[in-house]
Symmetry: C2
Subunit: 231 residues, 2 copies
């Protein structure tokens, strides 16, 4: 019987540990060169090259060439969505090293999820927006009310729901580390972009973990009543 779309092919591509590591590295939304992806997966450049070719062929990644560098990124948000959906049904992986443990903590604390903020911070900020009555839950979606619209506009976030873009405005995205929802969609992305702009958060050297700066700690407290504690 075997129905139709061959999901097994795509799943087995994601199912290789090296390829999965590369895809997860790209979940942050940024494009990365082949060498970086090889290092992220802990494999040789040759091996990475064959993997990347397969991912391109399957339409999971797209490639941009800049001189001798080739940058890779997720082909579209549906790929990111599928990866996140897989993460929510994946059991947690045992930790091997202190380094991994530290990185895991950093990721659980704050990271970007494709293009918006996730981790403890992502969930906590979303909670504050709810508590301060700027957004409301509505099924698998958040609604931005008038009060919130004003607040975010003042904060410098361009709040516009372009009717053209089929993209969801303020999705609820299930956080794999917190197992709770954080703010995603175009609103989540705009807000996150603004936080980078203000230098309240910044990318850590590699991976998609982010760090909250001193300015960010103060700012998030003043603007959103989000009090960060050092753990």
């Amino acid at each position: 019987m075997n129905s139709n779309p061959n999901l097994a092919e795509v799943a087995s591509l994601i199912g290789n540990p090296s390829r999965a590591a590369m895809l997860v590295s790209l979940l942050g939304g940024k494009a990365l060169p082949a060498g970086d992806l090889a290092r992220a997966a802990g494999i040789s450049p040759q091996t990475a090259s064959t993997h990347l070719a397969k991912l391109i062929h399957a339409g999971l990644l797209i490639q941009e060439s800049y001189g001798r560098h080739k940058y890779f990124r997720l082909a579209n948000s549906e790929v990111g969505h599928a990866l996140e959906a897989l993460q929510t049904i994946s059991p947690p992986k045992p930790i091997r090293s202190l380094r991994e443990s530290n990185q895991l903590h950093a990721l659980q604390f704050a990271r970007t999820c494709y293009d918006h903020l996730a981790g403890k911070i992502g969930v906590a900020l979303t909670d504050r927006l709810l508590e301060m009555n700027f957004i409301e839950k509505s099924g698998k979606e958040f609604l931005l009310n008038a009060k919130g619209k004003i607040k975010l506009h003042e904060f410098g976030v361009t709040v516009e729901k372009s009717p053209k873009s089929r993209r969801c405005f303020a999705r609820q995205c299930l956080d794999w580390s917190e197992r709770r929802y954080h703010l995603a969609g175009s609103l989540g992305a705009s807000l996150t972009r603004r936080l980078f702009e203000l230098k309240w958060i910044e990318n850590l050297p590699d991976g998609r973990a982010v760090r909250v700066t001193d300015a960010g700690i103060k700012g998030l407290s003043d603007e959103f009543g989000l009090h960060l504690t050092i753990e």
Copy 2:
């Protein structure tokens, strides 16, 4: 670097063609015995047994024993969601036989997707509910308005949003065959259950394709202005 939850393990489980076939068979939401799943995947019972044990171990399936039969079903709706998300990024599989072609047409026309209605019919019925102003789009979610609440209540659908259930009320589910949204969530499930109850739709012998009965053709036309054409 390799972040944390080992998504690769789950993905590689889904990535085996035999296991994928079994999982897809279970997407209809029904529980099936091991033997049926073996046949669906075209493998021997021994092989199926080892596959099923792995899927159970990984938490993708749950098992219920009735005498010498063991029934398997998807562990939760998140597993179904992940499978659907993978289908949306999977390329269509080439058709080999007339039989496969017919089955594909049947699936594209009407099928159950975990527990709600999908395919042409699923999308068309959702469209009618929108056009008749019973539900409204709101991001990745539908909202049931007062008019719709009355209509569906009259129609015999129990419309209640139990605050306990974390499940989404009226999700928009991306249809892999139509590439458009249909009504999912608990409302989608209730409505579909009612259509079965009224015998407006019925399961086809195997798989998750469904057939619209004569009563269904008349009923859908009368109640929702959905005029089915024979293709």
